[in-house]
């Protein structure tokens, strides 16, 4: 399959390790991975903060970047950004864009996938041949869980990783408190939510907290780091890309 990587603006700029891991994993699985250079951002921040007209150029840009018929699928290591492509782009295009844009948005959205659903649903694979000899707990991010309904697909993938010590996260489906600009506009409430998430993570004794969204991991990791907990964050893609005898990926230091 010819797979286009959608790096996401945050992944491209701040967490390239998660994106390169996605690229290496898909290449290892035998696919032709491409990176359309025109891509930037899905526009979720604009839509979720109330700036829909300002999201229109980003929605157009996404359709331009990935509209190529030679691309079989677009894969992003983010439930949140894929959620925006799937649920918000049509709203923005319908309100402010042309009918032509609306149909392009529909076409591109139909072939855009979050990593875990792409692996399990489209490629039909759960054992990706990964090796990761560490204690890991997994936080299912809200948008992957409730917008994309990925269910336990990420866990199916993690369970198949050799030598992993996967421990269940208590109250896993509670939000970590990130919520984009929510963490800035309601920083104290967000922190209160984060505090409970951190308690649950540290209670597992895990060395790594993993998730499918770099944004949520940035939030959780920011708290783990501030408190010197000794637990670090790592994107799901980085675990799945890890193979023996390669040196373990580093994640984000605690």
């Amino acid at each position: 399959m010819r797979i286009a990587l959608f790096a996401t603006c945050l992944g491209d700029t701040m967490f390239p390790g998660a994106v390169s891991a996605t690229a290496l994993l898909l290449a290892r699985l035998g696919h032709d991975v491409v990176f359309p250079d025109g891509q930037t951002c899905c526009g979720q921040m604009h839509v979720n903060t109330g700036y829909q007209p300002d999201a229109l150029p980003l929605v157009e840009n996404y359709a331009d970047a990935f509209g190529d018929n030679g691309i079989d699928a677009v894969v992003a290591p983010s439930g949140s950004c894929v959620g925006s492509v799937r649920h918000q782009h049509e709203i923005v295009a319908g309100r402010y864009g042309s009918p032509a844009l609306c149909s392009r948005v529909d076409e591109v959205k139909a072939k855009t996938y979050e990593l875990s659903e792409f692996l399990v649903d489209v490629l039909g694979v759960t054992d990706v041949g990964a090796y990761f000899p560490h204690r890991v707990t997994y936080h299912p991010t809200c948008h992957s869980l409730r917008m994309l309904r990925v269910g336990d697909k990420p866990l199916q993938l993690l369970r198949a990783v050799r030598e992993i010590d996967l421990v269940e996260l208590p109250e896993a489906d509670s939000c970590c408190g990130f919520g984009g600009t929510f963490a800035l506009k309601n920083a104290e409430t967000s922190t209160a939510m984060l505090a409970d998430k951190l308690c649950n993570i540290t209670a597992t004794g895990a060395e790594y907290c993993s998730a499918g969204d770099s944004s949520c991991l940035m939030h959780i990791g920011g708290g783990l780091s501030r408190l010197r907990t000794g637990t670090r964050t790592i994107h799901l893609a980085e675990i799945l890309a890890s193979v023996e005898p390669a040196v373990s990926p580093k994640g984000v230091p605690a």
């Binding site: 150029p57 840009n61 501030r226």
Partner: protein, 495 residues
């Protein structure tokens, strides 16, 4: 432009912006503990009784469909409902806003000659601030729902739709009763049974002596004129059956077209609100029955911003709400802040939607304008809602409406700049170079621990890692990236 229907008034707006109000509430450790415990308990109960029904999703679909139908035909159904209530001996009054509804109810109570009234737990009368208004008019209202009574005696405000005293524990309730309840036993302890018995003794006397009751309604049936109240304690039924006069205040969106539609809603409501298969008491009445129950029945149909909400094509879905409070119980924000932070009678996720819709949010500095932002958009509320209100999408829509009406500020300028930078990869890669500034800020620590201005909220409790030396894009176009990819392909071929 079509005429804009008037907004609602009454207890639909707090005094402080959500972040400021939340700041106070977050510091209340007793509240945090009580609400955390209570919401987790109700959550688990709800999941067990919704999970056992094989047709729960179809019930939700049916509930949403019935409510959509009601809103699409609201004028017609209301006229039908009025005629049916009148034909059965009830008197129908129409109230455009809180003040009108308060005045109508006050006049009706005065006409009976009583200066006391007993009350069934009701959100509509909380919304219009009826108790406060009656007090000003020299009429004493007694809340008969145990939790509402605790709130009333404590000179407090409800913090939850279903469990208004969720923020109080039994020690606090004992103190309130000892201080405020006339004729209370001075040796009362904080055993829940004893607390309930004290309230019962106090309330029984009121049930037997007060000749007027005020209630809300969970449902009104358009074709028969029947009203329904569901409750757990039976105190509501006392109020609905014992007095001579019954006055019911009902929001106009509470209609169901036919009696049969109750089949759907009497399954959805108790399972979603208290986590019970069936609530203990369901009272239904139609007009006046000679010689049985109240001999005078008045129905006050309340608009108070509902028509304005109905006029909003996207937002009208919020009028599906049946006030079950399932969204509060699963909300991670509500769980930490409690209900008071929302300011309005309607707290939690649905309150963050309904309050601005009913009462507006466009005036400068309106606290309601902060409510749509009081959510991480985690989506737990949408999953819990028995009538499938897509609350996260409504919050996003209200944020959009808020920004459309706001004056241009720093945030708007930043969003415009980001939009411009991100709408072309050439400009974006240039902007990414600013990440170098982040590396500078991080310094030798390798992380950013303090940021200025609107970003300071983040670094008060969280670090940010230093931006990497290379963006993904740079790695992809580097020899290193190409080599790594080639190696991964090779590895794949070997496997």
């Amino acid at each position: 432009m079509p005429p804009v229907p008037p907004r609602g008034s009454g207890n639909l707006r707090g005094v402080a912006a959500f972040p400021a109000a939340a700041h106070q509430e977050l510091a209340n450790t007793q509240l945090r503990r009580n609400i955390g415990k209570a919401t987790h308990t109700i959550r688990a109960k709800r999941l067990s009784v919704t999970g056992e029904l094989p047709d729960w999703e179809q019930l939700r679909d049916a509930g949403a469909a019935v409510k959509t139908d009601v809103l699409n035909r609201l004028p017609e159904l209301l006229t039908q409902f009025e005629a049916a209530v009148t034909a059965r001996g009830g008197v129908v009054h129409w109230a455009a806003d809180a003040a009108e509804a308060d005045a109508i109810v006050t006049d009706l109570i005065r006409a009976t000659g009583s200066d006391e009234v007993i009350k069934v737990k009701s959100m509509a009368t909380q919304e219009i601030g009826l108790n406060e208004h009656l007090e000003e008019q020299g009429i004493t209202a007694y809340e008969t729902d145990l939790a509402e009574l605790i709130v009333q005696l404590g000179h407090d405000k409800p913090s939850h739709i279903l469990v208004p005293a969720i923020h109080r524990n039994r020690a606090e309730i004992r103190e309130i009763f000892l201080r405020e309840m006339p004729g209370v036993d001075p040796d009362l302890d904080d055993n829940p049974r004893h607390l309930a018995a004290a309230a019962r003794k106090f309330l029984r006397h009121k049930f037997m002596t007060v000749p007027v009751a005020v209630s809300g309604a969970n449902f009104g049936i358009a074709d028969t004129g029947t009203l329904a109240v569901v409750e757990s304690e039976g105190n509501g039924r006392m109020c609905l059956t014992l007095p001579q006069t019954l006055i019911t205040v009902m929001g106009i969106e509470k209609l169901l077209p036919t009696y049969r539609d109750l089949e759907v809603f009497l399954q959805l409501l108790p399972r979603s609100s208290t986590g019970e298969r069936m609530n203990p008491y369901t009272s239904m009445w139609t007009g006046v029955t000679p010689g049985d129950g109240p001999q005078e029945f008045h129905l006050v149909l309340l608009d108070n911003g509902r028509t304005a909400a109905l006029a909003d094509e996207m937002g009208r879905e919020a009028l599906h709400c049946i006030r079950c409070s399932a969204c509060l119980n699963v909300c991670p924000v509500y769980e930490r802040t409690g209900g008071h932070a929302y300011g309005s009678t309607y707290p939690g996720p649905i309150g963050a939607v309904l309050s601005p819709q009913l009462a507006g949010m466009d005036a400068p500095g309106d606290p309601n304008a902060t409510l749509p932002f009081a959510s991480s958009l985690c989506g737990a509320c949408y999953d819990a809602c028995p009538v499938k209100i897509d609350i996260p999408s409504l919050l996003v829509e209200l944020r959009h409406q808020k920004v459309e009406h706001a004056s241009f500020g720093i945030e708007a300028a930043a969003m415009k700049a980001a939009s411009l930078a991100m709408s072309s990869s050439r400009r974006w890669t240039t902007a990414q170079k600013a990440a170098g500034l982040g590396r500078l800020l991080a310094g030798k620590k390798g992380k950013i621990t303090s940021l200025p201005g609107p970003l300071a909220g983040w670094t008060e409790a969280r670090d940010i890692p230093a931006p990497p030396r290379q963006t993904f894009r740079q790695w992809w176009n580097s020899d290193e990236g190409r080599a790594a990819l080639a190696q991964a392909r090779e590895k794949g071929r070997q496997q």
